[in-house]
């Protein structure tokens, strides 16, 4: 079963993952423009893009444990997943700045003044060097530093989850579930590293 899945995954070209991965962007935009996201499409679009970005970040973090614990090998798609996550965080940010806030001075004021936006922005800032160094040349050039640098994904994902929890009103279930999943995945890593060191 796992072997069959791995064989299938091997046959799937990476470009297909990129292609499928970017499709939700024009789809959501189309929905937003035609009433498919409800009567207030700006916040809805912002939310859909943000949620998708967070899901992709979490999926990216699942790839290593999936191989270790289930034997499922998706390593060849990890870069695509990471870059797609960055793409959606960036779109989320664009929609927020251009369609939602609209006022340039208020964008900056919000980043400095509103903790949930500061946290989200910090997460985005951390993803920039990761996106920039996602090419083969950088991997070779940076060597072991590359692995260390890319551990920032953990921090960025946690910040994304916290950003979501901080922006909702009251104690809502969905952001708590996201954070719980993130904590579970990260704790798997801690456990595994401890085992390796023992």
């Amino acid at each position: 079963m796992v072997d069959r899945f791995n064989a299938l995954a091997r046959r799937l070209p990476t470009w297909a993952v990129y292609l499928i991965g970017v499709l939700p962007a024009p789809w959501f935009l189309y929905l937003g423009a035609t009433g498919g996201l409800g009567v207030e499409p700006i916040k809805a679009l912002e939310h859909e893009l943000g949620a998708l970005a967070l899901q992709l970040l979490i999926f990216g973090l699942c790839i290593t444990p999936l191989r270790r614990f289930a034997g499922v090998n998706l390593i060849k798609f990890r870069r695509a997943i990471g870059l797609l996550a960055f793409f959606y965080v960036f779109l989320h940010l664009l929609v927020w700045a251009i369609l939602d806030v609209q006022v340039l001075s208020q964008i900056w004021a919000d980043i400095v003044k509103r903790p949930y936006i500061t946290v989200g922005m910090l997460g985005f800032a951390m993803l920039i060097p990761l996106a920039v160094t996602s090419n083969n040349w950088s991997v070779r050039r940076l060597g072991p530093t590359w692995r260390k640098l890319h551990k920032l994904t953990y921090v960025a994902t946690v910040l994304g989850g916290v950003h979501y929890l901080m922006l909702v009103k009251g104690w809502q279930l969905e952001p708590l579930i996201y954070l719980l999943v993130i904590a579970a995945i990260l704790s798997l890593r801690v456990k595994f590293q401890n085992l390796r060191h023992a």
């Binding site: 409800g38 009567v39 207030e40 809805a44 004021a109 919000d110 509103r114 903790p115 901080m166 279930l173």
Partner: protein, 266 residues
């Protein structure tokens, strides 16, 4: 004029109500879910007939009032009000309802009463959102007595001349147009006159962000977002924002707060 208030009649003439679809599909009613479209999907399960409102506390004629008996004594009129949510979006809503003052006078407010407390119906079996402790259920709200007796303060029973849809707070909800929307408590089952400031749900949940008064005020920001501007619902993907007005444009209530520091009493 039906309104009896020069200022609002003037203001009302420029107001173009949002569509039925907009008003009834984009709601905050956390008892039916936290998504904006959750209430319109889940609220039909709420039984609104029969409906009883308990009026108690410092009144001459406390009791359980059947909604039908209340309505028989009230004059229903249309009020087209601006509606400003604390989340910085806004609508214009053509309510049907009666003045809260008329209802309070029917029960006979005693002279020592200073505040009015309100409570929303709490039926977990009909309200799926209450299975989660998003807020401390049941939802409660409150007004100072002079705010409650103000002629702008409405108890709404309808929308566009039709009965109020469940997701909008059927069968009876408060509408206080110069305050953020969450003050306008929905599906009211209890009204209590007291001499102490009653607890209010969002204030209990987060006192730093939500005060008792919660008057619309562009100069006092919510800690997490600006209140200077608002997005009118209905403008689509490229909707522009507009400036938020002090007291949501209902300047006639300003005298209720003479001498009060509005930044402290937010």
């Amino acid at each position: 004029a039906a309104i009896g208030l020069g200022g609002s009649v003037q203001a009302q003439e420029d107001l173009k109500p949002n569509s039925w679809e907009e008003i009834t599909s984009y709601c905050n009613y956390y008892e039916f879910g936290t998504g904006k479209d959750d209430p319109s999907r889940n609220a039909r399960a709420l039984t609104t007939d029969p409906w009883t409102v308990k009026i108690d506390g410092m009144v001459d004629r406390p009791g359980d009032y059947a909604l039908g008996d209340i309505l028989a004594k009230m004059t229903i009129e249309e009020r087209i009000y601006r509606f400003r949510c604390v989340e910085a979006w806004s609508m214009v809503v053509p309510w049907n309802g009666f003045e809260l003052a008329d209802l309070l006078n029917m029960a006979g407010v005693q002279t020592d009463a200073k505040y009015v407390a309100f409570e929303t119906v709490y039926r977990p079996e009909e309200m799926p959102g209450t299975r989660y402790p998003v807020l401390d259920w049941p939802y409660v709200e409150g007004l100072r007595l002079d705010e409650a007796m103000h002629p702008l303060t409405l108890m709404a029973t309808g929308l566009y001349g039709k009965p109020l849809p469940n997701q909008n707070g059927a069968p009876l909800r408060l509408v206080v147009p110069w305050k953020y929307g969450f003050k306008s408590i929905k599906s009211v089952v209890r009204i209590t006159l007291t001499d102490t400031q009653p607890p209010t749900s969002w204030n209990k949940s987060n006192a730093r962000e939500y005060g008792f008064y919660s008057n619309v005020n562009p100069t006092v920001d919510h800690p997490r977002w600006s209140q200077a501007t608002e997005r009118p619902i209905g403008g689509g993907l490229f909707a522009s924002k507009k400036d938020t007005l002090m007291f949501n444009g209902y300047d006639e209530v300003a005298s209720l707060y003479d001498g009060m520091d509005m930044a402290k009493n937010f």
